[in-house]
């Protein structure tokens, strides 16, 4: 009997194992190379489903809500200092109250524009600006800073009146710059014009505060360099140095900017002077604010006030929590 009489079976155990292994391996490779949901990493095993972050779109509504939030953050600062003679000289209460009323009207205007644009009005302050700018500055002025492992505690400001006025000036300047910056972001001309109507008022607030803070003339009126460039042949007789320590609480000197008497052994960080007309064009750069008492090295708190951007816009998915 030849071997033809007893042919091997078509598929032996080894063949079945080979086929099975080949099929599994092929399926694994093809599955691995297969299309997953776009933008998601393939996963193995059972894991909880991740929650997608909401879309943060810079729409007109988001910008208008941001404007509302900025107005309310500024109102919150005015409400803390008006009537508090430790923070604001009572002779400025009327002016500050007027400014706060203006901001309340602006907030209502932006609320209405938000609603008209189909959005939900934002009725709180700006969370980011409150956390990063307003609260730290107010704390540094009124409380100081706690001691840390590497630094001694810092006492409250030695001149809260000066710091509060400078802070208000910075906020008003920030508001004007913010509305100027929003002009390029709005997709529609109408909110641009409304924003700049408010921006013009904020700029006038800032100018009036600068005239109050800096009694130098013409230094408190116009930028010194601009004044010299305008009339090179006859420079102003009263010249404010570009950076001085302001001592507006010192009525004996008329609150003028004077060199530091330096009764303390450590020189304190100089506080930038302010000017009613600081430049020919409205600027969008950071506004540097220096407040509070200096630390053991004399370094005061420096904060750059910057116009709201993607990290401080009040997007449509956000809900107020005040």
């Amino acid at each position: 009997m030849s071997r033809h009489d007893n042919p091997s079976p078509l598929l032996g155990r080894r063949d079945v194992l080979r086929i099975g292994g080949f099929t599994v391996a092929t399926a694994t490779v093809i599955s691995a190379c297969g299309e997953h949901e776009r933008g998601e990493v393939g996963r193995v095993g059972a894991v909880p489903t991740t929650i997608r972050l909401p879309d943060a779109r810079t729409t007109n509504v988001a910008l208008l809500r941001t404007a509302s939030s900025l107005e309310r953050s500024i109102i919150n600062v005015y409400s803390q200092v008006i009537g508090n003679s430790d923070l604001l000289d009572p002779k400025y209460d009327d002016m500050a109250t007027r400014f706060m009323q203006d901001h309340a009207g602006h907030a209502e205007l932006f609320d209405q524009l938000t609603t008209d644009a189909g959005g939900t009005a934002w009725t709180c302050g700006n969370p980011k600006i409150d956390d990063v700018i307003i609260n730290p500055i107010m704390k540094r002025i009124t409380v100081g800073a706690e001691a840390t492992a590497g630094a001694a505690a810092i006492e409250p400001s030695e001149d809260p009146h000066r710091d509060v006025l400078n802070f208000l000036h910075g906020l008003e300047s920030l508001a004007g710059a913010t509305y100027q910056s929003l002009v390029a972001l709005f997709s529609d001309p109408t909110p641009r014009a409304e924003a700049m109507t408010v921006g013009a008022r904020a700029a006038r607030h800032a100018a009036l505060l600068a005239l109050t803070i800096n009694p130098d003339r013409p230094g408190g009126l116009v930028n010194f360099a601009d004044a010299v460039n305008a009339e090179p042949g006859s420079p102003p007789t009263t010249v404010a140095p570009p950076t001085t320590l302001q001592n507006i609480a010192n009525q004996a000197t008329g609150g003028s900017a004077v060199p530091t008497p330096t009764p303390t052994p450590t020189a304190q960080t100089e506080i930038p002077t302010v000017t009613a007309i600081p430049s020919q064009f409205g600027g969008l750069g950071a506004i540097q604010l220096v407040v509070g008492r200096g630390d053991e090295n004399g370094t005061r708190l420096k904060i750059n006030l910057e116009t709201p951007s993607l990290n401080s816009f009040v997007f449509e998915y956000m809900t107020p929590s005040c």
Binding site: V24, R57, Q180, F186, S187, A207, V222, E231
Partner: protein, 227 residues
């Protein structure tokens, strides 16, 4: 058993083998392809589903996304920005008239000269934006206000205060119509400083009321038709 017999036997045995091996290979390939097809099926179904989802998302996006405004000035913008330049030219010329007077102290002169330079810079900036389409002609308001700017110090300061308010109101009206963001941004950067001019001029002129210092009542805007 001779070798040749064995050879033949082997031939006999191995002769049909290629046919079996060929069948086996075909079957193996068939099974492999079948397995591959089965394994691809869920993936293909998933892709079909994913395609549907993506389409739906895109449709939603298309509904909510707003059209980005143009950057460069449109034809209508050019007319409006040219008008703005004519107003700035008029302001510069009027301050030139004011600075011809000796009725100002050093501070007042410094402020007026600085504001004059600012208006000149606005003219230049608008020229840069418009190029050859810039009109380079002063608005007719110059003729109306020249007498006011040639008076005594307080009246000049008052006239300048009014002029700055007119400029702010005019630029805000222009902003309501501008489509291009380049022009709108420039106008915004101009008017926010002109707003400050008014407060400083009021202060220089001795104003103490907040309504005056804050220019509570903005002057009427100039319009291209009037110009």
């Amino acid at each position: 058993m001779s070798i040749s017999k064995g050879f033949f036997v082997d031939n006999d045995v191995t002769e049909p083998a290629p046919a079996d091996n060929a069948n086996l290979r075909r079957r193996l390939l068939g099974i492999g392809l079948g397995g591959a097809a089965v394994s691809l099926l869920p993936s293909l179904i998933g892709r079909a589903n994913a395609t549907t989802t993506t389409t739906a998302t895109s449709a939603t996006t298309a509904v909510t996304t707003t059209t980005a405004p143009p950057k460069r000035p449109s034809d209508d913008d050019v007319t409006l920005l040219g008008f703005a330049q004519s107003v700035e030219l008029a302001a510069r010329d009027l301050y030139d008239v004011a600075l011809g007077s000796d009725d100002f102290d050093d501070n007042e002169r410094a402020v007026l000269a600085t504001i004059r330079e600012s208006h000149d810079a606005y003219v230049a900036a608008l020229s840069a934006l418009l190029g050859r389409q810039a009109p380079q002609v002063a608005n007719a308001v110059v003729e109306d206000l020249t007498a006011s700017f040639g008076g005594d110090g307080p009246s000049v300061l008052q006239a300048a205060y009014q002029l700055e308010s007119v400029a702010v109101a005019t630029h805000i009206d222009i902003l309501r119509e501008l489509q291009g963001t380049d022009g709108a941004s420039l106008i915004a950067s101009i008017l926010i400083v002109e707003a400050r001019h008014g407060t400083v001029l009021a202060h220089l002129n001795g104003a103490t009321a907040l309504d005056d210092l804050l220019v509570n009542t903005e002057a009427g805007a100039l319009t291209p038709a009037e110009g």
